[in-house]
């Protein structure tokens, strides 16, 4: 890990944040347009919303709250973007892999677990009942999605026989993993939406808790959290490309372009999911996740393992 | 980075954890002390593996330590809940009568 060559390190420092920010803006613009259309106004009027909101939040003051644990609060808020960037590091874009970590899948999972801490700290730090409830809701939700997510990530690893993301992408030159691991892919996609506290899994920031973890945030603090949510969606979409969608494989365009296109499409699906479902309440999700989803993923793993064993022998 | 240095750090971690375990009154804080000690054990085991005998077998020991930590945590939490439920307390001192 410590011996990255200089150039990829430099590239990853510059390119990864820029790419994530651009895609996050794209997602936010799409969401703004869809919201405007839902309200009965022209969709184009919502496209600039993320830029306007950024300007507004940069102009707004931050808050100093009595009795708050500002250190944990701010770590929780700023950490979301960082965790998203660290997740993107292991995604191979064309021939470039920003950080060639041999256990890339475990890396992604470890960064995902950091979100348990970050979202909870964000909820806890503000010293507000609604914010705290939001933080606890995220933990309840995480307990429901994390185990299925781990099993879902195991699927491609078994299929490729490696924990290295580059090799997992390379192992799909015949058949994309999404084709014979549909359950794992769906569980993965749902988990991405869940760890980004988005759409149907936005209960930690729900209206019933007065926007939960977001309730006391203002100014730049709010900006980094909102950006962090979109960045997490971007990271989840980007990581799905080498895991399930064949990496950079595709006709005509170069590999890096295909990675971007696939990421953007999946990102669009995630953003659109907000329209399709109401919130899935964490207390009801838990039972379904443990009683239904975990066995389903395990069956999926069994199928993958058998197929992989037959394929290799 | 030498074996001695890593072991020194592990020793420091272990003593800090030992202090926590001995001095804390609250069950969960005692558990945190134990965690710090196990943390030191992991570090020392990894160092010994790398500097003395980097064979594949050695890695298994680390997995065992990690598994031991999870067992410790799960049972610790369960015990803390039982103690809390039955005595409305989370202090080790209030459970001294449980000693044989």
């Amino acid at each position: 890990m410590g011996d990255l060559p200089a150039t990829p390190a430099l590239i990853s420092v510059l390119v990864v944040p820029a790419g994530v920010v651009l895609l996050a803006l794209l997602a936010a613009a799409m969401n703004g347009a869809l919201d405007a259309r839902a309200a009965g106004r022209p969709a184009a009027s919502g496209v600039a919303v993320p830029l306007v909101e950024t300007a507004r939040l940069l102009r707004q003051q931050r808050r100093t709250l009595a009795g708050a644990d500002s250190v944990l609060w701010r770590i929780g808020g700023a950490g979301l973007v960082v965790a998203a960037l660290l997740k993107v590091l292991v995604v191979p874009v064309g021939a470039v892999s920003f950080a060639d970590i041999p256990a890339g899948i475990v890396w992604f999972n470890a960064m995902d677990v950091l979100l348990w801490a970050l979202w909870w700290m964000l909820g806890w730090g503000a010293n507000s009942a609604y914010s705290l409830i939001g933080g606890y809701r995220f933990l309840a939700q995480a307990l429901a999605y994390e185990i299925p997510l781990m099993f879902a990530l195991t699927g491609p690893a078994i299929g490729a026989g490696s924990l290295d993301v580059t090799q997992v992408a390379a192992a799909q030159h015949d058949l994309w993993f999404i084709v014979w691991m549909p359950v794992a892919f769906l569980v993965y996609a749902a988990s991405v939406v869940a760890f980004a506290v988005w759409g149907p899994f936005a209960a930690p920031a729900g209206t019933d808790a007065v926007s939960g973890v977001l309730v006391e945030l203002s100014g730049p603090d709010r900006l980094v959290v909102l950006a962090g949510r979109y960045a997490l969606l971007v990271a989840g979409a980007a990581f799905a490309v080498p895991m399930f969608l064949g990496g950079g494989a595709g006709p005509l365009l170069p590999a890096w372009a295909w990675v971007l296109v696939k990421t953007a499409v999946l990102l669009g699906v995630f953003v659109g999911a907000r329209r399709l479902f109401p919130a899935i309440r964490p207390d009801r999700l838990a039972e379904v996740a443990w009683v239904v989803v975990v066995p389903l993923v395990l069956v999926q793993l069994l199928v993958i393992a058998v197929l992989a064993a037959v394929g290799r022998s | 980075m030498t074996l001695q240095l890593v072991l020194l750090i592990a020793a420091a971690l272990f003593s800090v954890g030992l202090y926590g375990t001995l001095s804390q009154q609250v069950v969960v804080m005692v558990m945190m002390g134990i965690e710090v000690m196990l943390n030191a054990v992991i570090l020392a085991a990894a160092a010994v593996w790398w500097f003395l005998a980097p064979t594949p077998d050695g890695q298994t020991l680390l997995l065992v330590v990690i598994a031991a930590m999870t067992v410790e945590m799960a049972m610790g939490f369960a015990g803390a809940i039982v103690l809390h439920r039955s005595r409305n307390s989370d202090m080790t001192d209030s459970a001294t009568d449980l000693a044989g």
């Binding site: 700290m121 379904v288 | 072991l7 003593s15 992991i42 049972m75 939490f77 369960a78 989370d90």
Partner: protein
């Protein structure tokens, strides 16, 4: 060079945050200080080419500490604000004992003539670990899994105040269990 700097950084962070666990006044900070300590140790473990195990340490321990923080807050009832607290006993003797233990361990670490390295590290530690636990050390894993399963069951039995007779009635004849909180399957 870089490796040495990183090692010192991680080492100092690991020990400093472990100390912070018992020095801070806030339960949440104590839990997450321990998480930082684990992350630093995980990083050192990755430095000795044990990528998989290092990352697993980070993954498991951060998760554990997130739960730990909830338990700490639940049982100790703290404000997020920094609250001076002293919930210790035998402080002086504990310090003394720990210092002695540290002295002994440190002396051992420095003074013992450690043997030279035997064998060479595998080129791919992850693959070698996988091969090991699926062949020569399989028995170890086979022992750990029932232990973990037994832990899950016994911890739940200990912690759960309501048995099936509470839920389904004395004759176990309730179709829908009576729970304080309804689950997602509508049972």
């Amino acid at each position: 060079m870089l490796e040495a700097i990183l090692f010192w950084l991680f080492g100092v962070v690991a020990v400093a945050s472990a100390v912070a666990v018992f020095r801070t006044d806030s339960m949440a900070r104590a839990s997450y200080a321990l998480a930082v300590s684990f992350i630093a140790v995980g990083a050192i473990v990755v430095q000795v080419r044990l990528d998989y195990i290092g990352l697993i340490i980070v993954l498991m321990m951060v998760m554990e500490m997130a739960i730990m923080a909830v338990f700490m807050v639940m049982f100790m009832g703290m404000n997020p604000a920094l609250m001076p607290m002293d919930m210790t006993h035998d402080k002086r003797r504990s310090v003394l004992f720990s210092v002695v233990v540290f002295a002994v361990l440190a002396a051992a670490a420095v003074l013992i003539p450690w043997p030279a390295r035997t064998g060479s590290p595998p080129s791919d530690t992850i693959e070698s670990l996988g091969n090991t636990i699926m062949s020569s050390k399989m028995l170890v894993m086979l022992t750990i899994s029932p232990v973990l399963f037994a832990t899950i069951v016994s911890a739940l039995v200990l912690a759960n105040p309501r048995g099936r007779y509470d839920r389904y009635g004395d004759g176990l004849d309730r179709r829908i269990p009576e729970d304080p909180q309804r689950g997602g399957l509508g049972r």
